[in-house]
Subunit: 204 residues, 2 copies
């Protein structure tokens, strides 16, 4: 079973790399599906699951609730349950066949399965431009606001990753291949990345 | 004119990547030739030129000479001359046609020519093993000694790079593609890296 994990800076086009790579290779693609599955299993809102997993349980508490934990679910479902569900769902999905998983710390959760680990990144300006081109009509964030959001999201990703890994999020040593999408059309990079991954799998 | 620059951690196989990539693409390959050319132009010893360029002029002074500068050439040739010769030689060679340049801070010296910038790296253990397999008979360095040497060389490379760049040596943001050679046979990675570079050139 071949597993490719894609970690990515927000706005760098990592998800596009993942989807296109899955099409190119005929691998299954998992991303949001994992959240949906966990939400179903623990009978909780997808949005909340997503916040806990992407931002860590404490960051997921809206600040308006102050420093009390009144927002945390009163049920028996704890953050730990959500994390172990994540492990379970990712392990199950990746056992079905060759796949690509974007985010979700899948590179760490599946480290025993020796995935091919890609990191996708870009210059801040390129990331801001990419975010802007995807804004909904009516959204009018300034470049500064977008940059702040990008940094916040990546900081949260790093925090969540570093909690469960002995390597660091965004440190090239944690990955097999790091791809800078600045100034490129992602679609043109897919065939060589796919070929690189296949060589790596044959090789190991 | 297409220029590929290879920066690399010592012991990661960056030079092998460069040479094989040059063969694969039919590009010229420059590495030691640059030193030879500079040495000829300034009429100095290749070894000394190499030290100045790789380690910076102050690190190149043998410590036994203490903190005086008695070792520095008394002639009119200064470190600045060597650096400007490096710029000149690299610019000349890279103007002859498509090429690959390993090291020499060529990615920075040729930044106006928009080269495709590769960084080659590996885990410390893999680098130690690679260095050991290339030891001359009779050399008996311990793993610790090899690790110390690797770190010293890379620190010197970083210092030299950071002096002339506003990005950092070994920081993925400074490169277009970062390749981890740990646990792989370099020869199997060459075709996809070549394809990636060609796509990038077509694309820009």
């Amino acid at each position: 079973m071949r597993i490719i994990t894609i970690s990515r800076e927000f706005g760098s086009g990592g998800r596009e790399v993942g989807k296109r790579l899955a099409d190119e290779l005929g691998f299954a693609y998992y991303d949001r599906e994992i959240i949906t599955e966990i939400a179903k299993n623990v009978k909780m809102d997808e949005e909340y699951i997503s916040h806990v997993l992407e931002k860590g349980v404490f960051n997921a508490i809206p600040l308006t609730f102050g420093h009390t934990f009144s927002y945390l679910p009163k049920s028996a479902v704890t953050a730990t349950d959500i994390y172990s569900q994540q492990q379970k769902v990712i392990t199950q999905l990746s056992s079905k066949g060759d796949c690509i998983i974007v985010g979700q710390n899948a590179d760490i959760l599946l480290r025993d399965r020796n995935p091919f680990k890609v990191f996708v990144y870009a210059d801040m300006k390129a990331k801001i431009d990419r975010c802007r081109s995807r804004q909904n009509p009516g959204e009018n964030m300034t470049d500064r606001e977008i940059e702040k959001m990008i940094k916040q999201i990546d900081r949260a990703r790093a925090t969540g990753y570093d909690m469960i890994s002995d390597t660091s999020w965004g440190d090239m040593k944690s990955y097999n291949l790091c791809v800078n999408t600045t100034g490129t059309e992602i679609k043109n990079l897919i065939a060589p990345i796919a070929q690189y991954a296949l060589s790596w799998f044959e090789n190991k």
